[in-house]
Symmetry: C2
Subunit: 464 residues, 2 copies
C-alpha cells in the first residue's frame, strides 16, 4: 500500500480524531479551563502512541504540560526533525458571534468552497499540528519505519506567549537536540497556493492602567475640575501614532532591518490578492505606513495595535459618570532586529514622559517574542518545498507572515537548529475570531505534505 | 404638639419608610427592572396617601409612570408649590465595589461623622424626595392643614434623562399649574452648610460607534494594513480637547455666558474647601480650564467627559486581536446659553470632519437637557433660605451646581414658574457611585426645612 492510498483509506478516521481533539476546550488563558488543557495534553499523547510513536510523555512545566514524543528511524545516520506545535487555543469571546458552540465542531459544506471544519482551534493549531502526527502514523503503518528521526514537542501555552517553554527547552536541550525544527502554524498566501513562511514578526504586549479619582464619580459634580482617566488614556494612545500613521514612539524603527530590492521584488511578485484580502476582512479600506505595500506592511514592517480598551460605564443608556480607571491592551508586532524588551521599554518611556500628573499610569509588560527570519534557501526549506509541490500539484511560494510564534526564535537559538514553517491555514480561517475553520482539503494535503517532507529530507534529489 | 416635636417623635418611622423605599431596585435604565420601577411608583403613591395627601394618582407616560399628588390649603388664596422629585435610581455597577448589596440599605455609624444610610438612591433622590413628603405629613398631622397648596410630581425616568416627562408636562400643564416649583436633588457646598442652588448645568450625551473590519481579526495578520477602530476612536477623543484642556470643538464656547465680576466674587467667598473636595474624590490633582477656579469650572463653565469606552479584548491575559468595533459614551455639561441640540450638532460635525474613511463612525445623540439659571433673589429662594436657617441654625448660601436636572428647565418653561433648588446631599454622598449614602442628620433637617419652607412661603416676614 502506498502512503497516498493509506492516507485516503484512513482520512475519515483522521477527521473523526480531529473532531475529538477540537471538542476539548483547551483555552490556556483561562484558569477555569486548566483541567481541560491537561486533558487535551493527554489526548495528544494518546494519539501519538496510537500513531506508533514509541516514546511519549506528558511533561510538567511551570504552567501547562508539554507533550513529548520520539521515534527513531532505522537509518541511524538520518537527520532528526523536531516537530513543534501547540494544542492550546485562544479564548472564544465574543461568544455571541459564533453560529454554533465553539467546542462543538461541525462540518460545513459548500458546493464551491468545499468542506471545512468549524471550531475554535480548527486552524490554529489543532488541525495543523495533527497533520505531522497522521503523516508519521502513515509512514509507520505502511513502512514500519520513518525516513528520518522524529521528535514531537507539542505545548499548551502558545496562545499565552509560551511563558514556561523557554526554561523547559533550556533544561531539555539534549533531549530536544535536532537538525531541523519544523512546524505548521501559519497560513498560505491564498487558497490552493502552498506557502513556506521564512519570516515572522515578533511581539511586545503591554497593558496600560490609568487611574484618577478613587471611585467612579458624578460627571456633573466633578467634570471639568479633575482629569478623566479615559480621556488621558485616549490622548496617550493617540500620541502613539503620527498623522501619517507611523508609530511616533522615539526609536521604535531604529532596529528595523531594511528590505533589499530583491526581496521587495519577490514580495511584489507573490500574486497576493489585495482586493480579496480586504473584502474578506471587511474593513472599508486599506491603509498603513506610507511607502510600503500591504504585503510589506504586514510581513516586513512593524505595527502597533490596540487589542482592547475599557473603562467606565459600558452598558445600555446614558449613565453620567467620570470613571476612576481606564485600561488598554497594546500589541506591537516586531521585525528583525527589533527586540521585544527594548520596544517595551521605549513604549513605556514614551507613555511615562507624556502622562500628566493628574492621573497615575501603570505599564505592565505582559509578553514578548523575538521576530524570526530564516534562510529561504536552506535544505529544509527546499525539502518542504518539494513536498508541498507533490501534495498540492503546484510549486510552493516563499512569504513573510505578519503573525508571531514567539517560541520559534527561542527554539532556534537554544537548539542551534534552522526552522521550516509550512502552513496549511488560510487568511479566511478566522483564527482568534468567532467561527474559526479549517479546510478539509488543506488538512488532507497537509498530512501528505508532511509525509513527503520526511522523505524529501532523508533523500534529497541529487540535482537539488 | 409643635412641628418639631412631631418630627422628632416620628423620625424613626420616617427612617423605616425610607429603608423600605430604598429596598426597591427602581433602576430606570434597565429593562429587567421595569416592574420594580412600577412597584416603586406604587410605593410612593401609598406613602403620599399615608401622609394624608388627598388626591394621589399613578399616571401613565410613554415610559415609566409618574406619581402625582395634590393637597390644597384651607387658605384659598395661598400660593401653590409644585414639588418635583424622582423615585428612580442609577444603575449599580461596578457591583463588586459595594461593601453590601446596593438594595439592602443599612445604617453606618461613625462616632465623628454621625449616622448615614447606605444604599443606591439614598441621596439621589429617594432620601431627598422623601423630605417634603414627611414635611407635608407633619403639617397635616399637627395642623390638619397646609400653609400653601401643594402638588407633587415624582417621576421615574430622571436618571435616563426624563424622556417621557416633557410631553407629560405639556399635556398636564393645567393640572400642574403652580406659583413655585421646588425640589431637593442637589448637594450642599460642604457638610452642615445649607445651600440653595441657583444654577445647574445642562447636558448633551452622545455615543460614538466606530467600526472597521467586519469581525475581530488577528493583530499580526492584519495589523499595519487596516485601520484599528480603537486607535481611531482614541484619536477622535483626543481631538476633543486642546493641549490646555479646553474643549477643541469649534463653536463649543460660543454661547457660554460670561461670569460677571460680582458673581465671581461671590463664588470666591463661598468657603468651598477645595483640598477636602479633592481628597474626598481621590484624584491626584485638580486641573481644568485655565483662568477659572474649581468652583467656576464645575458650576459656571461647560465640560466634556467620556463616561465609558470599550472594544476588543478586555479579559485577563494577552489576546492578540485587532477589534472590529469600538464604542464611547460622551457627556457634555452645558451652561447658559448653550443648547443641547446645538452642542450635539457641533460635536457630531467635529467628529465627522475628523474621522478617516478607513472606518465608519456613527454618532448617536442619547439625551440632552437645558442648563438652568434662576434668580437668586426671588421670593421663593428667600423663603427657602429662611427655612434652611431655621432648620440648620446657620445662614444658607447660594451656589452653582455642576450637575444637571434636565427636566427642570422644561418644567420652568412650560409652567412659567420660577424654581427653587434646596439640596440636602453632600459631595461625599457617592451618588452614581458604589456605596451611595445619605446623612441621617441631613434627612432630619431636610424634613424640617421643607416644613418651614411651606410656612415661610405662606407668611413672609414683613421686613423681608
Amino acid at each position: 500500500m502506498s502512503l497516498n492510498h493509506y492516507l485516503d483509506a484512513h482520512f475519515d478516521r483522521a477527521l473523526q480524531e480531529l473532531l475529538a481533539f477540537l471538542r476539548i476546550p483547551s483555552v490556556s488563558a483561562r484558569p477555569e479551563h486548566a483541567e481541560d488543557v491537561r486533558r487535551c495534553a493527554d489526548f495528544v499523547a494518546e494519539r501519538l502512541r496510537g500513531a506508533d510513536v514509541h516514546w511519549v510523555e506528558v511533561l510538567e512545566t511551570a504552567g501547562h504540560p508539554v507533550v513529548y514524543g520520539e521515534r527513531r528511524s532505522s537509518r541511524a545516520d538520518a537527520p532528526t526533525v523536531l516537530i513543534y506545535g501547540h494544542y492550546d487555543v485562544q479564548p472564544v469571546d465574543p461568544l455571541n458571534l459564533w453560529v454554533s458552540p465553539p467546542f462543538e465542531p461541525w462540518i460545513a459544506e459548500d458546493a464551491t468552497l468545499g468542506r471545512r471544519v468549524v471550531a475554535r482551534g480548527a486552524s490554529d493549531d489543532k488541525g495543523q499540528v495533527y497533520c505531522p502526527i497522521k503523516a508519521v502514523e502513515a509512514h509507520l503503518s505502511v513502512h514500519n519505519d520513518l525516513p528520518v528521526h522524529v521528535k514531537f514537542l507539542i505545548e499548551g501555552e502558545e496562545e499565552i506567549g509560551s511563558p514556561s517553554l523557554p526554561a523547559f527547552v533550556e533544561q531539555e536541550r539534549e533531549r530536544l537536540a535536532a537538525d531541523w525544527i519544523a512546524l505548521s502554524d501559519t497560513a498560505m498566501v491564498r487558497p490552493g497556493q502552498p506557502t513556506i513562511t521564512y519570516a515572522l514578526r515578533g511581539l511586545s504586549y503591554l497593558q496600560l492602567n490609568v487611574r484618577g479619582p478613587s471611585r467612579d464619580v458624578h460627571s456633573g459634580v466633578y467634570g471639568g475640575a479633575i482629569a478623566n482617566p479615559l480621556q488621558v488614556l485616549c490622548e496617550l494612545v493617540a500620541a502613539l501614532k503620527g498623522p501619517d500613521g507611523r508609530v511616533a514612539v522615539p526609536g521604535f524603527y531604529d532596529a528595523v532591518r531594511d528590505l533589499d530590492e530583491a526581496e521587495r521584488a519577490r514580495i511584489a511578485l507573490s500574486a497576493f490578492d489585495e482586493a480579496a484580502w480586504l473584502a474578506e476582512c471587511g474593513a472599508p479600506k486599506l491603509t498603513g505606513e506610507p511607502g510600503f505595500s500591504t504585503m510589506e506592511r504586514i510581513g516586513a514592517r512593524p505595527s502597533l495595535d490596540l487589542c482592547g480598551i475599557w473603562g467606565g460605564y459600558t452598558g445600555e443608556g446614558a449613565k453620567t459618570v467620570l470613571p476612576s480607571e481606564a485600561f488598554a491592551k497594546l500589541s506591537a508586532r516586531l521585525v528583525p532586529d527589533q527586540q521585544p524588551a527594548d520596544i517595551a521599554a521605549k513604549l513605556r518611556a514614551h507613555l511615562e514622559a507624556l502622562v500628566p500628573d493628574t492621573v497615575t499610569l501603570e505599564v505592565e509588560v505582559m509578553k514578548g517574542g523575538d521576530p524570526v527570519l530564516t534562510d529561504p534557501n536552506s535544505d529544509g526549506v527546499r525539502a518542504f518545498s518539494r513536498a508541498l509541490e507533490r501534495a498540492f500539484g503546484v510549486p510552493a511560494v516563499l512569504a513573510r507572515n505578519g503573525g508571531s510564534i514567539p517560541i520559534a526564535a527561542d527554539l532556534m537559538r537554544v537548539l542551534g537548529a534552522p526552522c521550516v514553517f509550512a502552513g496549511f491555514g488560510q487568511d479566511d480561517d478566522r483564527i482568534h475570531s468567532p467561527n474559526e475553520k479549517f479546510e478539509l482539503e488543506n488538512f488532507r494535503k497537509g498530512i501528505a505534505a508532511w509525509a513527503y517532507f520526511l522523505e524529501e529530507l532523508a533523500d534529497p534529489p541529487a540535482t537539488d
